[in-house]
Symmetry: C2
DNA sequence: AAGATATGTCAATATGGCTGACGTAAATTT
DNA sequence: AAATTTACGTCAGCCATATTGACATATCTT
């Protein structure tokens, strides 16, 4: 199985040496992020398959659970999809009783979204698997190091985003988890 | 715009808090990962749009560039898709000259894949944007902290994966399960 | 010669994005 | 009060990317 020249790959083979300082690319972090995220969402996929849902359902019910009373428009900002795309998924979650909606009291055009106990249970099941992965990965770090990890992830995010949910997260992200 | 009770959301509303402890969930890391990865791939999306490609093309040409001589079967393992899905994307990249293939010398059934200069340029352009984001996020960390960040990302990955590319990335390390 | 393997391909289907257009109720502005 | 804007829903169709199953071909292994 020595077919692929992984050694060449690791030491970097073809680099445009035209300029003097090609500004080294962070292949290491780029690929670690790819695989970390792949396995991270893989945890949720296992659960979703059992419920006949896809990743889109996860994202919707997750944010609705976490930010009760979220408006449809807020959700569109967070997920960065169109209302048509959201509509399909949201309708299923409403029909199957994972989410309910109430009209806004101040503005009755708004449909405020809330997760039901059923929806909460689904979210918690997936978050449980992902939390296990996270705790496993964080197990041997000093408190200062785990804080650095949080700050790094926060630093990877575009902070100039007008998204309201994101503002909340970035405002409180430096604290530790609640509960 | 005080419609949504973000405050309630942050302090968490519907959680069985009275009991001994349902194992606190790491909502903080879960959501930071979501947004960090969303913006991270967003960098590549900008470039891909200009080329008329999608994320699938990025993944393929990235790994082919990074691990020259990769077999089709290896690529399927890394990307975790079927060969039918890969075939469509790979064919485009071959037709448009981003990738070339050569028959394996020891096993001529194999099609070993290599990125062309054109393919390499595309990958480098996307990696450049992502590297800028990474360097920005890592700017103010001590060396020990950046090492911790890499170890964390590595720890988030399933190490018992038979995937050959992953083994190289993880340092050709053990086959130890995730204890 | 027989079987397994690596790859390619055809056909059908599902999911989850997209755009554009239109409708309705409710809030806001004039 | 009327006009306009906003929040949301929906219909219709298109595209990208994923799926499964079946089958073809070349090549390596036994």
């Amino acid at each position: 199985m020595a077919d692929v020249n992984f050694d060449t790959a690791v030491t970097r083979s073809i680099e445009p040496a035209a300029e003097r300082g090609p500004a080294p690319l962070r292949w290491d972090i780029i690929e670690l992020l790819f695989f970390a995220y792949r396995d991270f969402v893989g945890d949720a996929d296992q659960v979703l398959d059992q419920f006949g849902f896809g990743r889109a359902h996860h994202r919707v019910v997750h944010f609705v659970h976490r930010y009760p009373g979220l408006k449809v428009a807020d959700l569109l900002d967070v997920l960065r999809i169109t209302k048509q795309s959201l509509g399909r998924v949201l309708k299923q979650l409403l029909d199957e009783g994972y989410i309910v909606q109430k009209s806004g009291e101040m503005d009755r055009r708004q449909r405020l979204l809330f997760a039901t106990a059923k929806g909460e249970a689904l979210v918690a099941q997936m978050a449980g698997l992902q939390t296990a992965r996270i705790e496993r990965a964080l197990r041997d770090f000093a408190p200062g190091e785990t804080a650095a990890i949080s700050r790094f992830l926060s630093g990877m995010i575009d902070h100039d985003d007008p998204d309201k949910v994101l503002q909340v997260i970035l405002g409180t992200a430096n604290g530790t988890s609640e509960t």
